[in-house]
């Protein structure tokens, strides 16, 4: 399975959403969200999508994950609930890519001769107290 760039495109908003409208996009490419290719980032919507991120970005088709032709929604309750403001529906698009930003980083380490076994990496990067933030 090829690594994929992943685009979540808003296909509909049932009700009102303060951030998204039809056509809004969030673009992922392992290991990150591409800010230049994304519109607003709703924390709740991103978390709802969280469990599906890794398999989709590694090329597992949405059908195999039970997402049909690639539809997913945010966590917001439907409008039958009085306090609900609206639900956003996303279409998932997978675009196979040759190299992800993570691949580029690994390649860069290789070019610099840093990549190797764990001990090699430790010697280059590990601080004296790796458990402490400062």
């Amino acid at each position: 399975m090829p690594n994929c760039k992943l685009i979540l495109e808003v296909v509909d908003v049932k009700g009102f959403c303060p951030f998204y409208k039809k056509g809004s996009k969030i673009t992922f490419c392992e290991p990150a969200i591409l800010k230049e290719e994304s519109d607003e980032l709703c924390y709740g919507a991103l978390l709802s999508f969280g469990p599906f991120y890794r398999p989709l970005v590694r090329g597992v088709p949405p059908e195999e994950l039970g997402l049909g032709d690639g539809y997913i929604s945010c966590h917001s309750a439907p409008l039958v609930i009085p306090e609900a403001h609206g639900t956003v529906f996303f279409k998932i698009k997978q675009i196979p890519v040759e190299e992800t930003p993570e691949d580029l980083w690994i390649n860069d380490l290789e070019k610099k001769g840093i990549l190797g076994d764990t001990e090699t990496i430790k010697r280059k990067f590990w601080p004296k107290n790796p458990d402490k933030p400062y």
Binding site: L47, F49, P51, H75
Partner: protein, 114 residues
């Protein structure tokens, strides 16, 4: 100090869900004497992996620490968040996905810390 037991209760199912039925619960409980909480596996029906992301958005920690007030005039807007709030799993439901979505009612029940 009062902390709250947080309950996510399946209140509506749109389509087919192979895991939850209406009334099933996920129960999150403060650990007595500690500032952590855990899922009570005895009182929890099941934890679907697809609800994990939504569960993080469902005010679980927030509801655990929310303080209810007896006096209306003392209440801040967020204090009404003891519940219920509602969140759904991210499945779209038929005809787009085989599984339907489950709507969870999320609320806190104040408990005395032992």
């Amino acid at each position: 100090m009062v902390r709250n037991k947080v309950i996510m209760e399946a209140s509506e199912i749109n389509g087919r869900c192979p895991i939850y039925e209406i009334g099933d619960k996920i129960v999150i409980e403060p650990v007595p004497g500690e500032n952590v909480s855990m899922i009570n596996l005895k009182e929890t029906k099941a934890i679907c992996t697809r609800i994990l992301g939504t569960a993080l958005t469902s005010y679980t920690l927030f509801l655990e620490y929310a303080k209810p007030s007896q006096e209306d005039e003392d209440k801040l807007p967020w204090q009404t968040a003891l519940g219920p709030n509602h969140s759904k799993c991210p499945m779209v439901g038929p005809p787009y996905t085989e599984c339907g979505y489950v709507l969870f009612k999320v609320y806190g029940l104040p408990q005395e810390e032992g």
